[in-house]
């Protein structure tokens, strides 16, 4: 399933997750970025950066490598589902859109 990665949320192939992190009071942007990087790593993914202009929203993509998709998905869901700083997360799926 071709799903996003990269700052424009686009990358060939691979899984990806959108994650909304709780930006704790007073926590700076830098701190949030570091937290996102650490969380992505823990989930076995790569943090490609903030999604557009949405504060606290990050895109994690599957790293290149031989790991089976199911293993990646299980690990990601387990980590993202349990982490207290994650307010919301969602695996990115392809949307069907038609020109009018």
């Amino acid at each position: 399933v071709a799903t996003p990665g990269g700052p424009s949320g686009h990358s060939p192939g691979g899984l990806s997750w959108a994650v909304h992190l709780d930006s704790g009071a007073g926590e700076g942007l830098k701190m949030l970025e570091q937290q996102a990087d650490a969380l992505a790593q823990a989930a076995g993914l790569v943090n490609t950066g903030r999604i557009g202009e949405l504060q606290g929203h990050y895109l994690f993509v599957q790293p290149a490598g031989p790991k089976p998709v199911e293993v990646i998905r299980r690990q990601a869901e387990a980590v993202l589902g349990m982490h207290k700083a994650v307010r919301w997360h969602s695996e990115q799926r392809l949307l069907k859109r038609a020109k009018r």
Binding site: P7, G9, H10, A18, R50, I51, E53, S90, L95
Partner: protein, 645 residues
């Protein structure tokens, strides 16, 4: 009084209809007053914009553009086998095609800037949509989106979590805080009796939903009905009627001009162009001001099948045409004198659990919710704009359901229509319908939701699990609304459309675009290449220096006895092909009288490799500079010394 040399302008009936006067967007009057969209940027979010084409290039805005499919700043469309990626370029031409360039056509806002965000030509996800909706949102004022979920009469879809968040962020922080204007096409599912309330982009409160009418003002075969449609404008109709003439791409079979642009895709950009004209005369209009001006100025017109109903606030609405036809003259004159509406107020009922069976037609399930004065005290909400209903319903065939909402005034909105194609067994799971038909009416009172099962099941099969009512509006009173209506009518003479009349307009907020600098793959590849190249040559030169040092060292070792220079073949010496780096110095003591060596001047000038053996040796501390100077004949040195040394 305006004349354009663009060859297809006479065929652009939507701009100025000579065949059926009045059947156009009534824009020439504002053009005559130099309202052409100056200073406004419209971005077409689509499959790309061929910005190199003559009709677009002068108005193109690279700083507002991006390509999310290839992740680079250039939204040029990529030809594909179906010759299909001309859609964005056509929409762009409708908005800002350059006039008087003897090429093709003229855009509604031909003085505006046009940008492109290429996002439809490849896999599209929620996060990509979110990026698109806020891309360069301090540069792009209006986002024109002529696309949406499938119009197949059985899809229920819209922006997902991130797309919704981006739309909301756009109206809050976009356009210096006045709010991005999102214009969407209502959909082409007419033949599948689709309804744009099943499309979350069309029924979002943050978007301006635009439908289409043909040159005769009728709802074309492809158009959809919808209670959340704000207005309509022109597009193509059936074969007998003319379509929209606009710029086209010139790739593949494209000629740079087309007379066949149609569908609600063609209507939305015309609306976006008219909104650009409004923003030229009043840049500080908020996203809600724009919606209000559309509601106040759209014109109802004769169409028996349109089922016009006038609501309590005096606005006429039709499920087919919204509040009516957009009229550029009315929109711009209203914008010129418009003062901002009060802040957005909202009220949400609790989640109302019902778990009631939905009876078969002709019976229906009716549930009520009363909104009291106390309920509204907190928000100050007095009159309505959008009314939204979020429902969860189970039913084995979703297309059998019909939903109607009655506002306290009794105004009925058909928010969910039966769809014969929709056999989805999953019903509705917290799907939000909305209506604009109660715009301007009082918010207080009892709201009624009526659900019917029009299927041919033998027994009731549907269950209304729960629902929630959400009201959006402002502190405006009905009197305020009537006053504003009167004020606008007084402006329609055009008396305020003069340069010397301008209401104060706040400059807006400086909101930094937090675009993290993103290196595009192309840039990355270039950097990697340059890097490799640099590393390679560095290694090569280091090797060369090392080897030459070594050879020098070996020469030094020869100082004690005669050294045997490597016999260089006469041939290679003559040809000078033999590459050898030798030090610059002969090391002789500068004081010693230097017997001038005879020999061709060139030899010494050509530098070291042509000098004979023994000429050189390396005494440390000798600067190459002295050495070199000693080899130049004295007459050459006159005055040269300084230069050369």
């Amino acid at each position: 009084s305006l004349h354009f040399n663009d060859p297809k302008y006479p065929q652009q009936w939507h701009l100025n209809n000579r065949r059926s006067p009045g059947r156009d967007i009534n824009v020439t009057g504002v053009w005559e007053r130099n309202v052409t969209g100056q200073g406004v940027t419209v971005v077409v979010v689509d499959d790309g914009v061929e910005h190199t084409i003559q009709d677009i290039a002068p108005n193109y805005s690279p700083e507002g553009s991006y390509d999310l499919n290839s992740n680079d700043p250039d939204p040029m469309p990529h030809p594909d086998e179906e010759n299909g990626n001309h859609h964005g370029t056509r929409c762009a031409g409708e908005i800002a095609a350059v006039p008087n360039n003897s090429f093709c056509a003229v855009g509604v806002a031909y003085g505006s800037r046009i940008a492109g965000i290429r996002v439809l030509d490849g896999p599209l996800t929620d996060s990509m949509e979110a990026v698109a909706f806020n891309k360069h949102y301090q540069i792009n004022d209006i986002y024109s989106c002529s696309w949406g979920p499938d119009d197949d009469g059985k899809t229920v879809d819209g922006p997902h979590q991130l797309g919704k968040a981006a739309l909301q962020h756009g109206v809050i922080a976009g356009r210096k805080g006045f709010g991005s204007i999102f214009v969407v096409a209502s959909g082409n599912g007419g033949q599948h009796n689709d309804n744009c309330n099943y499309d979350g982009y069309a029924n979002s409160i943050y978007t301006v939903t635009i439908g289409a009418v043909d040159e005769e003002g009728r709802m074309p075969f492809y158009a959809e009905e919808c209670a959340s449609m704000l207005a309509v404008t022109f597009s193509g109709g059936d074969k007998m009627l003319r379509s929209i003439v606009t710029t086209d791409w010139d790739l593949q079979k494209g000629t740079g001009c087309t007379e066949g642009h149609t569908g609600t895709s063609a209507a939305a950009p015309l609306a976006a162009g008219m909104i650009a004209l409004m923003l030229q005369v009043r840049p500080c209009l908020t996203w809600r001001d724009v919606q209000h001006i559309i509601v106040f100025t759209a014109t109802q017109y004769e169409d028996r099948r349109a089922d016009w109903v006038t609501n309590e606030a005096g606005f006429s609405h039709s499920h087919q045409h919204g509040f009516g036809l957009l009229n550029a003259w009315r929109l711009v004159n209203a914008a010129k004198i418009w003062t901002s509406v009060p802040y957005l107020a909202s009220y949400a009922s609790p989640m109302l659990r019902e778990n009631k069976a939905i009876p078969l037609s002709p019976h229906s399930l009716e549930v009520l919710w009363n909104v009291s004065r106390t309920d509204l005290e907190m928000s100050g909400l007095k009159t309505l704009e959008h009314v939204a209903v979020t429902v969860s319903i189970t039913h084995p065939r979703r297309g059998s359901l019909e939903l109607k909402l009655f506002c306290p005034s009794g105004m009925m909105s058909l928010i969910g229509t039966p769809r014969t194609m929709d056999s989805d067994p999953n019903g509705f799971n917290a799907w939000t319908f909305s209506t604009v038909r109660c715009w301007g009416e009082r918010a207080r009172g009892t709201y009624r939701l009526v659900v019917r099962d029009v299927g041919d099941e033998v027994a009731p099969a549907g269950l209304l699990q729960q629902w929630q009512l959400t009201l959006y509006g402002s502190t405006w009173s009905p009197v305020d609304i009537r006053d504003r209506q009167r004020l606008l009518e007084s402006a329609m003479s055009g008396k305020y459309l003069r340069d010397d009349f301008t209401l104060p307009c706040p400059p807006g907020l400086k909101i930094p675009e937090e675009d993290g600098y993103t290196i595009t793959p192309n840039t990355l590849k270039t950097l990697v290449l340059v890097g490799c190249f640099t590393v390679f040559w560095t290694v090569y030169y280091m090797l060369e220096v090392y080897l030459s040092q070594r050879s020098v060292a070996s020469r030094l070792a020869c100082r004690s006895g005669p050294c045997h220079w490597r016999q260089r073949s006469r041939k290679s010496r003559e040809e000078g092909t033999e590459l050898e780096s030798v030090p610059l110095c002969n090391g002789k003591d500068p004081d010693s009288v230097e017997t001038e060596r005879e020999g061709p001047l060139t030899s010494s000038l050509l530098g070291p490799d042509l000098l004979g053996p023994g000429d050189w040796d390396l005494s440390p501390g000798r600067s190459a500079q002295n050495c070199l100077c000693q080899h130049l004949p004295p007459d050459l040195l006159q005055g040269k010394e300084e230069q050369i040394c």
